[in-house]
Amino acid sequence: MSFVIEARGLGKQYGRRWALRDCTLALPAGRVVGLVGPNGAGKTTLLHLTVGLLAPTSGSIRVLGTPPAEGPEQLGRVGFVAQDTPVYARLSVAQHLRMGAWLNPSWDRQIAESRIEKLDLDPRQRAGTLSGGQRAQLALTLAIAKRPECLILDEPVASLDPLARREFLRSLMEVVAAQGMSVVLSSHLIADLERVCDYLVVLAGSRVQVAGEVSELLASHHRLSGARRDASSLPASQEVIEESHTDKQSTFLVRTSDPVHDPAWTVRPVTLDDLVIAYMSRPAACERAHQPQLKVMS
């Protein structure tokens, strides 16, 4: 299997703070990878390391088999759309395309022009006067017309309204269907990504919490509820991701590759949303567990 991104012990430190830590990942090629995590989890740091805008403090990263931004040839193989889909406000749509053609040896003029036409953008219009959705579509056009093997997008739909979001993701998926490139896109909302990604990475507290194929993740996680019992009473094959208890009842979100047969449990499937939120809450839960208990004095 070939990998689009391979990171080993990757870390980035700002002063004393680690923005990303111990990141070991192997993202398979030909997928649409969703990178999800709360704000400040390290998503942008990871993507900037991937495109060579940042150098790692520790560990190593390879993109399409070579170090990021190693040379012009490697740069041409990777497309990047930065956060908030930046464009040059004073340049027209047509000037953006001309700039794209000058800067990229592999520029495909036909892809660029047919997309602008399909999107019904006026080539003479200045980018600064485009709507948020149109600006995002223009930025996407620039990134795909260079025909990258791997396309990286940092929070591309965060600032768009729901309709523009759907339209943007639809046109991104149409490009994937037509050109078959690998895609990595980040968001702090799983709802944005669950339709489009087939591989998921959850980042929280500067660390990778879980990574895997979406269909496998959904099939291997279950929510169990039943009479109150302790997590230690569960079989070793069931990894507890999240638990909550009342005086009578216990609810666990577990990961296991075996079917759950214990008749004492009511077993429910988990949605991708439940799963992501459970993994996102893990670092905070670990911290709480390690803090000394405070007694409430009355």
Binding site: M173, E174, A177, R195, D198, S215, A219, H261, P263, T271
Partner: protein, 130 residues
């Protein structure tokens, strides 16, 4: 040609939803041998989902021997699924209804009944679930 729908709150993987919808369409006779499934591109344009997901569903159906991909032409239904016999269906509907009435008479509420059903369903079908 059928049109796929998506339920994002079900917890069922998208590719499995597509596979199940083809099964249902075959059982209902909406799809027959020779019919073409929508292309990945068409499904992507309609549902805004990942084309790999559509291809994964079609590969799964091909492994089950239900469809065949013809390069450059599309994916075609090769086999029909036996339609569920209406007489059998109505027999089980009848006995299920009797069972539910007696459960209610015994003082069980909708939630109790659902919990019992889920547990029984799981122990019968768990092994066959992907």
């Amino acid at each position: 040609m059928i049109e796929f729908q998506l339920d994002t709150t079900s917890g069922v993987a998208t590719y499995l939803q597509l596979v199940q919808q083809v099964h249902q369409a075959l059982q209902l006779g909406l799809l027959e041998p020779g019919d073409r499934l929508p292309t990945a591109q068409q499904v992507v344009a309609q549902l805004a989902i990942n084309p790999n997901t559509v291809l994964k569903a079609y590969r799964d159906l091909e492994r089950q021997g239900l469809v065949r991909a013809r390069p450059g032409q599309g994916t075609f239904i090769t086999r029909s699924l036996p339609r569920t016999d209406p007489a059998v269906q109505s027999r089980f509907l009848g006995s299920m209804t009797d069972w539910l009435r007696s459960a209610r008479a015994a003082g069980l509420g909708p939630d109790d009944v659902e919990a019992i059903y889920r547990t029984a369903f799981r122990s019968c079908f768990a092994e066959g679930v992907a």
